[in-house]
Symmetry: C2
Subunit: 445 residues, 2 copies
């Protein structure tokens, strides 16, 4: 589906009358990035002249106001280009807020009182599923354990999974090499792309399964995990405790999805990700119902365009795993509303990452989820792709157990600031990379 | 909600190597129009160099290909700016097709065989609700009556309703004058905006109701219609057969909507339009369930962003009336899929209109619905606003019974071509209107 990717970023810097600058970005896959940049300019223009402390004092209200431009709203509302652009801007405001307080973003939020977190969250259009009072109860019930969980995750890191070996079109040799490499780095959750050809998916799946199920490939000193332990239950884990997930990137209609995925039960996936159109709540619910007897769950969210879609996915019991996207939702305030609903409905949150900057963003969101909201990271896994981190001042990193390290630099905010040199080189169309490509005749129209 | 409207149009002309030009447009309410124009350029660029007859030969396939750009898809998919832009372009292709065949658009389509109409429709992601085979059955069952229905609607016109008197903020005197005027023009369905203040809504509603229920105000020679007739049943019609609808433009959360609208039952609305977020299928279904005992229905669709949302509104039995928008859906091929699903699920289609050019577009869609698909216009009403028609070469018009006339000019295509003089005057930012306003210091940044 997402063929011909040209990983791109629409980047925004909010300047103040002090040295402080807030950075935000959203991720795109090529053409269309310019359109998002134009929309960001329109949305960000609303902030010019505002007092930052007034914005920070009630971030939920700031969010509601930012999405409610009476004219721009029409070309959404709260979806597509204008919502993605609002996400970049809202994330930049949060980055600025965190830098002002000299804390990484996750720390800024977990240090807030339950009342402050509620005030930072948007509840518009979701109060039939979650009221501010219910959100407050959730946050209060987890408040006393926050310090301990913060210490824990700093020590052990946050669970991650890799997609590196599972792309379509790789040779068996490449798949085997990359899978073994991932195992040696301590990973135990692996994702594979499917949907182009069922026989090919089975072949690749069998190969991956044979490697991740092989106890002799585990890094020295690592023991096989019990597939029936609480953290692995229902995940279709193999004898070493390894878990395989499959991702279809929206290629099927509903009935087609059920048929196709049933045919993959032999490779024992934990879930099928994005089996159909991201707008299709009923479709996901039906696919989940039909696949349940085969022990295969359903995940989605990377393209779920706002909290109202997630609300319905929860209400319809349509998903086993909630995959929020840090850029497609309109920034941290809307992410908070989804994290709180996921907690209420008992669905684990495993954010989408990869692309450009998504890994840098999402570790913050998962830390907020674990420390302040769900109180658990037992069954969660955060996507990780080792790709393009070199462009960021504060890149994310992975420890030797295949888990995300906790960002701790008090100056890093939301960790999304890019190197000036990267911007100078890759800015479209006048960056040095593009000018040089143009000279060589390598730039398409 | 949509305060501060500055009615705007993103207009596209597709030129060919003959004299034929296809025109399309989408409607916006001000800022954001530029963003849509930029997106239109990206989408339309995909058509450069294509053979028009190849495009026309399979308009469903043409549509699927147009929305499936692997990079642009990311910033939707199939929603918001990129989908609205695709609508303008798809409508322009259909306009070109109709002009090539020297027929108005509706006539081009109703003259197609059932097989050709199916081929012109997109079915992606909706086959769990409607298969091409089911669509074919629907079309075949209505095929033999097409000629007769075409004659009928040419004679009597297509039913319409007005919103002219019902805007928020009008004085009682203005409301009375405009309502009487609409009655005298033959209208018998009236819509009123609500949601800012319940007491004010009740006052305005009582005033409108008192006038539309007054037999002495009916135009001479017009008889009161039976409120219990098939065409009015369930519409909460008053003693003269007049129907009142109310429209909230998405202002409420779900529970708030139910509470508020229950308080308006005294003015006997047929339906509440857009009670909550347009993405909230479950919300609409719940509101409908809770309002049913009060005899008040639910309508939505003006902001339903694609066929997948409509599919679920039908599956969830969430709406009494389906209000497609000719510009928000990505053009005629997607509209056809919604019309066919509406027929299968037994929901009448009453398209959204007003704005710029929407009335010109939608009469074509309702004619296709009546003649080829639903076979009925008994309970349907098409929105009409007497506004901005002067900019179009082939403006829509209303007969003396308050019904739309049928467009018949073989050269008018989809009736959306604008006068060159209007374009020269109002193009942003260099049109003569804007240059003059700029000189006077009346143009905002």
């Amino acid at each position: 589906m997402n063929t011909d990717c040209d990983y791109s970023s629409a980047y925004v810097s909010l300047c103040t009358n002090t040295d402080l600058v807030g950075h935000g970005m959203t991720f795109t896959i090529g053409r269309g990035n310019d359109i998002v940049c134009m929309a960001i300019k329109e949305v960000a223009a609303r902030l010019v002249g505002k007092d930052t402390e007034e914005l920070f004092a009630d971030m939920g209200k700031t969010w509601d106001w930012l999405v409610a431009d009476p004219q721009l709203r029409w070309i959404g509302p709260e979806k597509g280009v204008i919502h993605i652009a609002t996400g970049a801007v809202n994330n930049a405001v949060w980055d600025l807020f965190a830098r002002t307080r000299q804390k990484p973003l996750w720390k800024l939020i977990v240090d807030m009182s339950p009342e402050e977190i509620v005030r930072s969250t948007t509840f518009r259009y979701i109060t039939d599923a979650l009221t501010p009072a219910e959100a407050l109860d959730i946050l209060k019930s987890n408040d006393s354990g926050k310090k301990e969980r913060e210490q824990t995750v700093k020590q052990v890191g946050y669970p991650a999974y890799v997609t590196s070996a599972g792309w379509l079109g790789y040779s068996d040799e490449k798949i085997a090499t990359l899978t073994k490499e991932a195992i040696s780095h301590g990973f135990n959750h692996f994702k594979m792309k499917v949907g182009a050809d069922q026989a090919d998916d089975l072949r690749r799946g069998r190969l991956i399964r044979s490697l991740i199920d092989d106890p002799s490939l585990l890094p020295s000193g690592t023991k096989a995990r019990d597939p029936n332990s609480a953290e692995l239950k229902g995940k279709n884990a193999g004898p070493t405790g390894a878990v395989l997930m499959i991702d279809a990137n929206q290629v099927w209609d509903v009935e087609e999805a059920v048929e196709y995925v049933r045919g993959l039960q032999e490779i024992k996936p934990w879930f099928i990700e994005e089996p159909t159109a991201p707008d299709d709540i009923f479709g996901h619910a039906n696919i989940r119902r039909y696949l349940a007897p085969y022990g295969i769950g359903v995940a989605t969210g990377e393209h779920a365009h706002n909290r109202i879609v997630f609300k319905q996915l929860f209400q319809a019991e349509a998903i086993d795993v909630c995959q929020i996207d840090s850029c497609r939702l309109a920034g941290v305030s809307e992410v908070l509303s989804v994290l709180l609903m996921a907690k209420k409905y008992g669905v684990p949150v495993c954010p989408h990452a990869g692309g450009v900057g998504l890994c840098e963003y999402v570790i913050h969101l998962s830390l907020i989820d674990y420390i302040a909201i769900s109180g658990s990271m037992e069954r969660n896994v955060l996507e990780y792709v080792d790709h393009l981190h070199e462009h960021f001042l504060y890149p994310c990193s992975i420890n030797d157990k295949g888990r995300y390290n906790v960002p701790t630099n008090p100056l890093e905010g939301y960790s999304i600031e890019m190197h000036k040199s990267s911007i100078a080189e890759f800015s479209w169309p006048a960056g040095s990379y593009w000018m040089s490509a143009k000279e060589k005749g390598q730039v398409p129209q």
